[in-house]
């Protein structure tokens, strides 16, 4: 351990303080700390972090070397050849299983705090107004990007920088996709997302909000007005449990709850107009990133909050640090519990859940033990429920676009390079993979941007 030094710990606000507000939980490290941490990098490392750990192959060794030399601007310039928004990826990537999980130092001691360094570099660049370079050679061709989530951001950024004329179409009144409406302020401050979009605007990307592709403009119309169309519309349609009573009042999907809280700012109701019912005792069904975000938001709104999950602790998906933070903050966990029915004493508002107790069975397709019912049912009183059991690919565009092929999960079918069944139309991110991660969506964005550039250079 001593030979490779001690890993820097980013300062985290104490749980008792942070549950009272929506401000960021984990503070950004300072320059001196970043330099010291980056200097822990060992020479001649084969960089599994970059080659195996990172879906977009961020040049982590280069970044670490430059940071350790105090060359933060250069480190930023190196980073954005792979992730245009390090201040965002530094905050939301699942580092413990990706870059940091494959870090050589992980086996020798503690992995380098790559995420914390990346976040520092990204924020530093935002604060110091570092602009990104744009090709001075205009291609004279235009690209329509549909959806302004991580996949769309990358395609827009890469192609505009390469000299294309990019317009982003977004249905909502704020850009960012899940970064804006899903991931809460205390994990990813919205001013960061907004500033990243300012930067996109500064390099010439146009943004049209309130444009619902499929109805406002069809994909066909976009094709007639742009040389290429990229679909990055995500996996936003919530799944339902289909349990009796699921539609009583005060039962929300996580997307509705988080959209009200994050996008519509109903945690500031009545200053903001969108109302939000806040229960005294809230049950969140599910245990992924979405469930954690919903539970921690409910907690901050003053509720006693429970996570109800049909599998065990070890099977929880999502970032480990968020589970840890949720527990610190006082979210309670009920494992091997599956809701079988929702109850409403007054016939309107949810008042309780019938929970089937489960136990681990044989491994399923994912290799995790399949939860099997024990037959034991318990009643659990709550006055609000949030379901966070997953999402389907957004069906709006496939439904409105004849000829656009989807598979039986509703995912848009593409070739290895992101071409859909319609010539000139490309897709990437969650709409292609189903619910995934920010960095995977960005990886798709990079791949498809390259394909579009190649295809358009030919014609």
């Amino acid at each position: 351990m001593s030979k490779v030094g001690k890993r820097i710990q980013a300062r985290t606000r104490p749980a008792c303080e942070r549950v009272k507000d929506f401000n960021e939980v984990e503070l950004v490290i300072n320059e001196e700390e970043a330099i010291r941490e980056a200097a822990r990098d060992i020479k001649y490392c084969v960089a599994p972090c970059m080659n195996r750990g990172c879906p977009v192959n961020v040049e982590i060794p280069t970044m670490l070397k430059l940071v350790s030399q105090g060359k933060i601007k250069e480190a930023y310039e190196s980073l954005i050849t792979r992730t245009p928004v390090p201040s965002i990826t530094g905050r939301v990537c699942q580092q413990e299983v990706q870059c940091e999980g494959s870090c050589v130092l992980d086996r020798l001691g503690e992995p380098i705090a790559i995420g914390a360094i990346e976040k520092f570099v990204g924020d530093w660049a935002l604060e110091n107004g570092i602009e990104v370079a744009v090709s001075s050679q205009k291609k004279g061709k235009s690209v329509a990007v549909v959806g302004s989530g991580p996949a769309g951001i990358v395609v827009a950024s890469e192609l505009q920088r390469a000299g294309y004329d990019v317009t982003v179409f977004e249905a909502f009144h704020e850009p960012g996709g899940v970064l804006t409406y899903g991931i809460p302020e205390f994990r990813l401050p919205k001013r960061i997302v907004r500033r990243e979009f300012e930067k996109l605007k500064n390099i010439g990307v146009k943004l049209e909000l309130g444009a619902v592709i499929g109805t406002t403009y069809t994909v066909d119309e976009l094709l007639k007005n742009f040389n290429a169309v990229f679909l990055g519309v995500g996996a936003g349609r919530p799944m339902f449990l289909n349990a009796p009573g699921e539609n009583y009042a005060n039962i929300y999907t996580a997307n509705e709850f988080l959209t009200r809280v994050n996008l519509m700012k109903s945690y500031k109701f009545p200053e903001y107009d969108t109302p939000l019912h806040i229960g005294r005792k809230v049950a969140v069904i599910g245990a992924g990133n979405t469930a954690m975000d919903a539970a921690r938001s409910a907690l901050r709104l003053g509720a006693e909050t429970y996570i109800i999950y049909r599998r065990g602790r070890a099977e929880m998906t999502g970032r480990a640090v968020e589970v840890h933070h949720a527990e610190e903050e006082g979210v309670k966990f009920m494992f091997y519990s599956s809701p079988s029915e929702f109850l409403a004493a007054d016939g309107i508002n949810v008042s309780g859940i019938k929970i089937m107790k489960m136990k681990p069975g044989e491994p399923d397709r994912t290799g995790r033990p399949r939860p099997v019912p024990t037959g034991e049912i318990v009643n659990f009183d709550v006055d609000m429920v949030i379901t966070a059991i997953g999402f389907y690919p957004n069906p709006l565009i496939p439904g409105m676009t004849p000829g656009l092929k989807t598979d039986d999960h509703g995912r848009v079918v593409v070739d290895l390079e992101g071409r859909t069944s319609i010539s000139g139309v490309y897709a990437g991110g969650d709409i292609v993979t189903g619910e995934s991660t920010v960095i995977e969506a960005m990886g798709w964005g990079r791949r498809v941007a390259k394909t579009i550039n190649r295809d358009l250079s030919r014609t």
Binding site: Y181, L209, V212, T215, A249, N250, E256, P270, P275
Partner: protein
Amino acid sequence: MIEDFLKMHGKCYYSTTANPCIGGTVLDIAREGTILEKEELTTNIYEMKLYAPKIARAAHAGQFMLLMVDEKGERVPMTMVDWDSTQGWIDIVYQEVGTTTIKLTGHGVGDRLFYVAGPLGKPSRVGKFGRVVVIGGGVGVPAVYPIARTLKLQGNYVVSIIGAKTSNALVYEEKMKEVSDELIVTTDDGSRGLKGFTSDALRGLLLNGQEFNAMWSVGPTLMMKACSDVAAGKIPNSFASLNSLMVCGVGMCGACRVTVKDKILLTCVDGPEFISYDVNWKELAIRLKSYMREETVSLEMLRGADKL
């Protein structure tokens, strides 16, 4: 006013925020959401003409749009009552009931709404049915108007029943007359037309042996359910346009979910029009009651701010 916009920007206008010039329509996005006209049709019910070319150019009967009055506003759905795709405007009609609609009334001609989006939802399943009955209640009358108009244009024989609590609350009677072969008016108190509900008038028609191949109803949940019950077994096709609470309006949040034929569907993208016989009305009524308490808080705050 619209003419001015057109003159200013010629055939194809490229704003700084967006550029598409689709189908040769003027898409002056920088002005989108501007109020062109505003009229109080009767106490508390307003008609508003909005400049929204990109929505108007794609609008169909039965669809809606979303608007936010200001940055802190709610996303509220509004049925598109009328539109002109070449001039680029949309008419909406609303009743002043809550925070958003009160704020909306506080805005005048020339003001610009923070956000508009659309058209949203599936177009109404209008078509050549033969004899049809179209029912509207309250502000559901303007909402059903484009459906009646389209049905009439398609050559159907349109019988319309429109109703309100009292004569003073009745709007769009003249317009409905223009697009109907027969028009029946009802009021709860009998101050105009027949005394009773629209469903009573429908029952009367059916008892008299009148036959219809299709029915549309837009209005309060109770009215649509009552009409649906009366029509069951007698009118083969019955459509109702639901007024679920919405947040996102584009199929992502599930706030507007309804059970239709034992399946959970979303009013915003799978509707708003559903076959009325398949809708779980009881559940819809429950979900509409979700925000009574918060509405009061919000209104109190708005009124408090007015006093300042």
